[in-house]
Symmetry: C2
Subunit: 229 residues, 2 copies
């Protein structure tokens, strides 16, 4: 007969906490979170914006993203690898402290890049890549100075939601997706930022593999119930 | 304290069965199965091979596939959708009773097709598509006469493995994949054929989403253990 001690303690603790005055709602096992599908894109420093688009040029917001203060810019670039190039890759704003190129594995294969899965563009494994704009081109060296990579699946959370749900930055959670290609994505990295809205970011390969589009939701698993797959 | 009656009965039954003489090995909970990544491809009837490549022409084997008797042919075609075309799409042999085009969602988007997830090319939802070869072109009408679709993730099993593992054609299993993009693919359709070797087929979107390549393995979950995610 199977019993897990830690699980039992956790369940009783939660039950008690949930019944204490002023703490009527226990932490749920899973919460539905909107999914945002990240198509290949680049982030640029202010200096790189000028190198690619001309002196004195600033990014022009084209469409607001789901997270407040972030936008898709009017600016687009050509991303070049050893075996090809991808045109009209969108620049996202605002400008960053370092530039980076985020591609799906499908994109990487198409232009001959072999890319690592990274959480951000300054990790040591990011790869060199060339970016061409209408007024100039830049070469990101990879590594700490910024490069190309495949983004690790992650979830944005505001500080309030993170606290309420009992998770913290760096946690790795499961995301259960239903539909015609039901899938559980493990290792969804938790990122916490002030004012962020809960949103899972997947790349196009992941979204296509799960047959989801931006705006659909997945169930973020805060805690596994025993006996449930 | 959580106890599942059915689970208990099942576990005891398996334990007893496993200890009976001549039945030393109980059915495992999960088995490692090789993964084959299906790049976009087409299957053709003999008549369509002649229409596309010339009268009297037969497919020329180019490379054997993992399943005995199946091969990638030398022949390649252009697959055309309303917004574009994909060149050098491989034809797989041997010829079939109906023609079909299997694309990843990434491919479908690139050429402007909106495709369903199907198990085979004669399902009602498959879509019309044009195929162009060096000597002619054909138009698959979609539906029962063959069309384009996105393949449902599936696993090939020989009759012996299916019997040994207690699964049958049509079952839907989970496949756990480890690595940099750990993922559990639900709903992996079981297909059983005489002489087939155990092999999971994923398309390129799924493989890229899980960061796996042909030849790596995944754990096919024959039965969930309680308390295990």
């Amino acid at each position: 007969m199977w019993v897990d001690r830690e699980d039992l303690v956790e369940r009783v603790t939660r039950e008690v906490m949930g019944r204490l005055p002023g703490r009527a709602d226990p932490v749920p096992d899973r919460v539905d979170v909107p999914i945002g599908v990240s198509v290949r894109h680049v982030h640029l420093t202010k200096a790189h914006v000028e190198e690619l688009f001309g002196e004195g040029r600033e990014m022009q917001p084209f469409a607001d993203l789901y997270q407040k203060g972030y936008y898709a810019a009017k600016e687009q670039v050509l991303v070049v690898g050893p075996k090809g190039a991808i045109a009209k890759v969108r620049v996202l704003g605002p400008p960053r402290a370092f530039s980076q190129v985020e591609l799906a594995q499908t994109d990487a294969v198409a232009i001959g890049l072999r890319l690592p899965i990274c959480s951000e563009g300054r990790e040591a494994e990011t790869q060199p890549v060339t970016i061409i704009g209408p007024e100039g081109s830049i070469r990101l060296p990879g590594g700490a100075e910024g490069g190309a990579f495949i983004a690790r699946r992650h979830v944005h959370l505001g500080e309030e939601h993170a606290a309420e749900w009992g998770v913290k930055a760096g946690d790795l959670l499961d995301l259960e997706i239903e539909g015609p290609r039901p899938t559980c994505l493990h290792g969804v990295l938790v990122r916490v930022g002030r004012g962020w809205r809960p949103e899972v970011h997947l790349d196009t390969d992941e979204a296509n593999a799960c047959a989801v589009r931006t705006g659909q939701t997945g169930a973020l698993v805060l805690r596994r119930r025993p006996g449930r797959g």
